[in-house]
């Protein structure tokens, strides 16, 4: 009843079928010879053979020779996943002299031999899939990859050490970089640390030079106190909207002399100081920390009386000789064009309140590790003097590892860095207070260079390491020594009994987890994330800095917990990959876009609103829909919805899929 579907020219179809052994990966579970034998009986098949390593040079040459020798014009390779070697075999097909898109791959390894246990069934499945491919490949058309120009600029999101390193690496190659940071200053978490393990380098000393280098770099446009609001476009051609929050300070005039801060009506800080993690207060007008970059103050609209509609004599305005304060400032939106994006948004520490038995927030002398970093650092609120909230100088301190990590009730993953920073803090606390330090660990993880040696040094310094997951921290004494102390109850799994260790101060080494808004951020950049919420790399081992979205790269802890050396290395790698994109100047787009056939299009407008990329418009003169190939990403949504079947998607045409369905099922 159906009129014959549209055939593309009647050239004789000559198919070459190659099934790979992949050493034993496939051959062990699939009788590849039998499959090749079966396929040779199928229509249009001229050559059908099996070979040990199709992806090897020799394997590829096999294809090239057979194309020439047997005048083949279609190639089917049954081997691993097309996501792995489709490009390899298309190149080989091209070297053979025919269009690369006449090549089609069948996945009989990841979807076949590796996942099945019955050799007969796996072989039957391989034959069925082969028959489906032979059926479909005759409809393949010659296609060309499209080239799109790449804007030679990059956007780096997040101004921690990851973002700083990536921005500098890129900028040093002469490329223009936009570095966008949400906080008023760059530096991220690292700027808050006192010393860094294992060398006990002072964090500020190694970080601030890089921060000023960023500020001074001619190729870097630094936007702090700003957030990316939206991003459109595709690899090489991203249009980004950045919201620059109002600082109420004119950035050109302010030199960071802090006169305004001194003269502010609030003589004492009235709001928690985020930089000091709430250990101290700050005024409405403030500079996050002395070495902040850019060296500017910012007025917090929530805390400032004037900005809250109250009347204030604005002593800050009078104090500023350079009249840099401007209360009428409003947020501004910047529109920029970039070719690549490096996401370096960092991490958040675990909120220990989620473990009520550790008493954070209930007992004043229980601290998080980040709070202790600010306590021991000389530019901290107590200038390095370790004194507890209840005023005592601790003589006995307990450091609890893995708070929130490696825990089925909270986060299951190990945060990689807590053992090392716990030991560093043990060293610093002992150095500052001479206190007896107890570390409660499950397993000490010290894998980096010089890490194990640092652990030995800590033991030599007399720190106690007790192996056991801390059950509870309580101020209820059971014996006299526990009066007025915080007792840590833990099962010492090496000693084999439950111990109760009274201490003055407890440090909770909280783990690392994704930011609260990581879901929104990843949706904005169209990347996916793992179950825990860390952004998902393209391949866990072989592509750790790129993502499944071309042109978007990852650096630092947003991709998963890691220490500073790994973060810096990853930032460099991300910058390098982004550079390859920006340097080539163009990017090849897959040809699997969709095309409207005007003969069959009735102009019914069904497809227009379905395209998320607004690639389909209606030519009202001719009354037909038209797809802009540049904007079309090749998802095929419109093809499935078109009521007249007037839209075709290259490489995924209806006739190809119908044929594949019919032939796969016709076998078994």
């Amino acid at each position: 009843m159906m009129t014959e579907l549209h055939q593309n020219g009647q050239e004789e179809v000559r198919i070459g079928y190659f099934v790979c052994h992949c050493g034993t990966n496939i051959a062990a579970m699939i009788d590849v010879a039998a499959v090749a034998e079966y396929v040779s009986t199928l229509p249009n098949v001229v050559v059908s053979k099996d070979y040990r390593y199709m992806c090897s040079e020799a394997g590829q040459d096999l294809i090239v020779q057979d194309i020439k020798e047997h005048r083949l014009n279609r190639i089917v390779v049954a081997a691993c996943s097309p996501l792995l070697h489709e490009r390899t075999f298309r190149t080989a097909t091209q070297r053979g002299g025919i269009n690369p898109f006449f090549c089609h791959m069948v996945n009989i390894r990841e979807h076949g031999s590796w996942v099945h246990e019955d050799r007969a069934e796996a072989t039957e499945k391989a034959k069925a899939l082969a028959r489906g491919a032979i059926g479909r490949v005759k409809y393949h058309k010659a296609l060309e990859k499209r080239r799109e120009p790449v804007t030679p600029a990059a956007l780096v999101v997040g101004g921690g050490i990851a973002g700083i390193q990536a921005a500098l690496t890129l900028a040093n190659t002469g490329k223009k970089v936009y570095l966008v940071e949400r906080d008023p200053t760059i530096g991220g978490h690292m700027a808050k640390f006192d010393k860094t393990f294992p060398t006990l380098d002072c964090a500020a000393c190694i970080l601030t030079p890089k921060m000023s280098e960023v500020y001074a770099h001619p190729n870097i446009v630094l936007w702090t106190y700003s957030e990316v609001e939206g991003i459109e476009g595709y690899v090489g051609n991203y249009q980004v909207r950045v919201r620059r929050k109002a600082r109420y300070i004119d950035e050109e005039l302010c030199v960071g002399c802090l006169d305004c801060v001194d003269e502010c009506v609030f003589k004492v800080g009235n709001v928690d100081d985020e930089f000091n993690v709430g250990l101290s207060k700050r005024k409405p007008v403030y500079m996050p920390f002395p070495q902040a970059v850019p060296k500017l103050v910012v007025i917090d609209p929530v805390a400032c009386t004037h900005l809250n509609g109250g009347n204030c004599q604005k002593s800050c305005v009078d104090a500023c000789e350079r009249a840099a304060i401007n209360f009428d400032q409003t947020d501004t939106i910047e529109e920029i064009k970039v070719g690549a994006v490096i996401v370096a948004t960092g991490f958040k520490t675990f909120d220990p309140k989620r473990k009520p038995l550790y008493g954070y927030g209930k007992y004043p002398n229980v601290y998080t590790a980040l709070e202790v970093e600010r306590l021991v650092t000389s530019c901290g609120p107590t200038e390095g003097e370790v004194v507890c909230r209840d005023g005592r100088t601790p003589k006995k301190i307990g450091i609890v590892h893995c708070v929130g990590s490696r825990d089925h009730q909270t986060n299951r993953w190990c945060s990689r860095v807590c053992c090392m920073y716990s030991m560093k803090l043990a060293h610093l606390l002992h150095e500052h207070t001479g206190a007896e330090i107890y570390n409660f660990y499950i397993d000490i993880r010290a894998p980096g260079k010089g890490y194990e040696e640092f652990y030995e040094r800590l033991q030599e310094e007399g720190n106690h390491f007790i192996r056991g997951r801390v059950a509870e921290i309580t101020d209820i004494p059971k014996v006299a020594e526990e009066e007025g102390m915080l007792t840590i109850r833990v099962e010492d799994s090496l000693a084999g009994f439950v111990r109760r260790i009274p201490v003055d101060m407890v440090v909770l080494s909280t783990g690392l987890e994704p930011h609260a808004d990581s879901q929104d951020v990843r949706r904005m950049f169209n990347i996916s994330c793992s179950r825990e919420g860390f952004f998902l790399e393209r391949h866990p081992k072989l592509a750790p800095v790129s993502t499944t979205t071309d042109g978007v790269y990852l650096a630092g802890c947003c991709q998963g917990p890691k220490d500073i050396p790994d973060t810096v290395a990853q930032a460099g790698a991300a910058a390098a990959e982004a550079l390859t994109l920006l340097d080539t100047g163009y990017v090849e787009m897959e040809p699997s876009v969709s095309v409207v056939d005007p003969i069959f299009c009735s102009g019914c407008k069904t497809c227009l609103n379905l395209c998320p990329y607004h690639a389909i418009t209606r030519d009202d003169a001719k009354g037909v829909a038209v797809i802009n190939p540049v904007l079309c990403k090749g998802c095929g949504v419109c093809v499935a919805a078109c009521p007249s079947g007037a839209i075709t998607q290259n490489l995924f045409e209806d006739r190809e899929i119908f044929e594949e369905i019919e032939e796969v099922l016709a076998y078994a």
């Binding site: 996943s81 097309p82 996501l83 792995l84 996945n107 390894r109 990841e110 979807h111 076949g112 590796w114 996942v115 099945h116 246990e117 019955d118 069934e121 796996a122 039957e124 499945k125 069925a128 899939l129 489906g132 879901q519 949706r523 169209n526 996916s528 793992s530 179950r531 998902l536 499944t548 979205t549 699997s592 379905l610 998320p612 990329y613 990403k633 090749g634 998802c635 095929g636 949504v637 093809v639 499935a640 919805a641 998607q649 995924f652 209806d654 899929i657 119908f658 594949e660 369905i661 019919e662 796969v664 099922l665 016709a666 076998y667 078994a668």
Partner: protein
């Protein structure tokens, strides 16, 4: 066509999420029934309900559609269109006597390799319980103009017509 009892599942997997998850299941050497035949599409939004019907008409016992979780679609909202079509297609297939377990839509992200294994094994068990659909054989039987009285004559004629 050998008379086997293994049900056959025609699976449409989206390239970015479920197909990658199936690859991950392979790399992790997870084991599941050899009943699925995967057709790769760029997005679950590309899956035309005609493909689902064609799969049943050509002999599939079950159809499995795999796409990205809502909000994860590589093309922003392709999976939403797939869900819209699926909701009515399920109802229409039920009206046409096809048991709900035969068509299954699963959101499986790139990191959920084990989900692919579980779904395919579950679906295989369901389909074994339901028994084969055998639509091609039925179509042939429907066209047999059985004249005489024996009730299963049509089936017999159909069977050997199929194997002819």
């Amino acid at each position: 066509m050998p008379e086997d009892t293994q049900p056959r599942i025609l699976a449409f997997f989206c390239n970015w999420c479920t197909y990658t998850a199936a690859d991950l299941a392979g790399v992790s050497r997870m084991k599941y029934a050899a009943t699925s035949r995967v057709v790769r599409v760029m997005c679950s939004g590309r899956i035309d309900p005609q493909f689902v019907l064609s799969a049943f008409a050509k002999g599939a016992d079950g159809v499995l559609i795999g796409g990205c979780h809502p909000g994860d679609c590589h093309y922003i909202s392709g999976n939403t269109k797939c869900l819209r079509r699926h909701r009515l297609l399920k109802r229409m297939l039920a009206d046409m006597g096809i048991e709900p377990e035969r068509l299954r839509l699963e959101w499986i992200s790139a990191s959920e390799g084990d989900r692919v294994k579980t779904v395919i094994n579950e679906m295989t068990a369901d389909l074994k319980r339901l028994g084969p659909l055998k639509l091609p054989e039925r179509c042939v039987a429907w066209d047999v103009e059985a004249i005489d009285e024996e009730p299963d004559h049509a089936e017999a004629v159909a069977k050997e017509a199929v194997h002819a």
